[in-house]
Amino acid sequence: MSKIKWLWSIRLGAIALLLSFSAMSAESPLQINSDTACMKCHKRNGSMLGHHGQDTMKMSCSSCHGEKGDHPKKPNDLVVFGLQEGSDLDKQLAVCRKCHTPKKLSAAEWTHNVHAKKVPCAACHKLHSATDPMVEMTPKVRSELCSSCHAGKQE
């Protein structure tokens, strides 16, 4: 009897250990999210889980968004990414193009060529979420993305 109890406790213990381990790996605090200067305030915006946040890339918030400067007290040079409420188009594009050359972009996907210097990358790409919605799109989602801008236009 006692032997069975004993075995059960080992089993439960093992399961608990595994569970705690998987919970830990799900949170997996990336280095970039412990950037105290930014995360003090921006915790409410959620954390950076995307490809660019992985530790081996050694990137910080400022790698893309620029140095903090007088933010948030005075007008500043921080880059905001997005189609409608983002910074100037050229400013946004310049950040991405530091690493992503037109040649590589062209090789990866033809739509880069026709949108180059017309819309910011963030119009389609979302870098903070764990997976970029542009990765592994179904044909249907892809065509809907096109028509979200092109619909009704007569170009």
Binding site: S106, W110, N113, K140, S143, C146, S147, H150, K153, Q154
Partner: protein, 228 residues
């Protein structure tokens, strides 16, 4: 012996003449009735200057007509890029059934499974009658026919004759096109949008030299490569 030979020759000649006459008569009759029949003749225009290559038409066609993965009734073919970075562009053209007036697929089909619908002029397939000899696939100069892996019958675009059109809607590709690059309509109705578009624009059809008289028109994009 001489006599029997002569009789045989006479008989053969009469037989041949009769058979030829009969088959000619049926062919002539068929084309006559098609001409007189209906006041609908559907056609389509693909305005390549408006097409952005989003392939919403391909997606919609697959959904509406239940086309299995791996085959397709419509494909958007892409060429390019043209021009210099950052002002590059592509050219898109539609590959799908041209709904020929004189359709090679219909002419060669041994069972009549490939047919032209007399009411609408749409080239269509009776999947039940099809035995899968693939003669139509070889005969089509536009390479738009395929064997449907589910039905094992020849398949292709039928302007949604059995789906959207039967429900009084526009073909799926036309309804899905965000830039209105596709216009579908009745050539015999002079007030229809398609007739207006055809009158207002120079259009082209593919491989007209073959005498197939296709009903898929294209408005060429002004920009793009000059193909010799």
């Amino acid at each position: 012996m001489e006599n029997s030979k002569r009789r045989f020759l006479k008989g053969t000649c009469a037989l041949l003449a009769g058979a030829t006459g009969a088959s000619l008569l049926t062919t002539v009759n068929a084309s006559e009735s098609a001409k007189a029949g209906s006041d609908i003749k559907y056609a389509m225009v693909h305005d390549e200057s408006k097409c952005i290559g989003c392939r919403a038409c391909e997606v919609a066609c697959r959904e509406v007509n239940d086309v299995p993965e791996g085959v397709s009734r419509i494909q958007i073919l892409q060429t390019g890029p043209f021009g210099e970075y950052p002002n590059q562009f592509y050219h898109f053209s539609r590959k799908s059934c041209q709904h020929c007036e004189d359709a090679p697929c219909v002419n060669v089909c041994p069972t009549g499974a490939a047919f032209i619908d007399k009411e609408t002029g749409i080239v269509s397939v009776n999947a039940w009658k099809c035995v899968g000899c693939q003669y139509c696939i070889a005969a089509c100069p536009y390479q738009v026919r395929f064997i449907n892996p589910v039905t094992h019958a020849a398949d292709k675009c039928d302007f949604c004759r059995e789906t959207n059109l039967a429900q009084g809607k526009q073909p799926a590709c036309v309804a899905a096109c965000p830039t209105k690059a596709l216009v579908f309509g009745n050539l015999k109705d002079s007030t229809s949008e398609i007739v207006q578009v055809l009158r207002a624009n120079p259009t082209q059809r593919a491989k007209v030299a073959l005498g197939t008289r296709p009903k898929l028109f294209r408005i060429l994009a002004k920009s793009g490569e000059v193909v010799l």
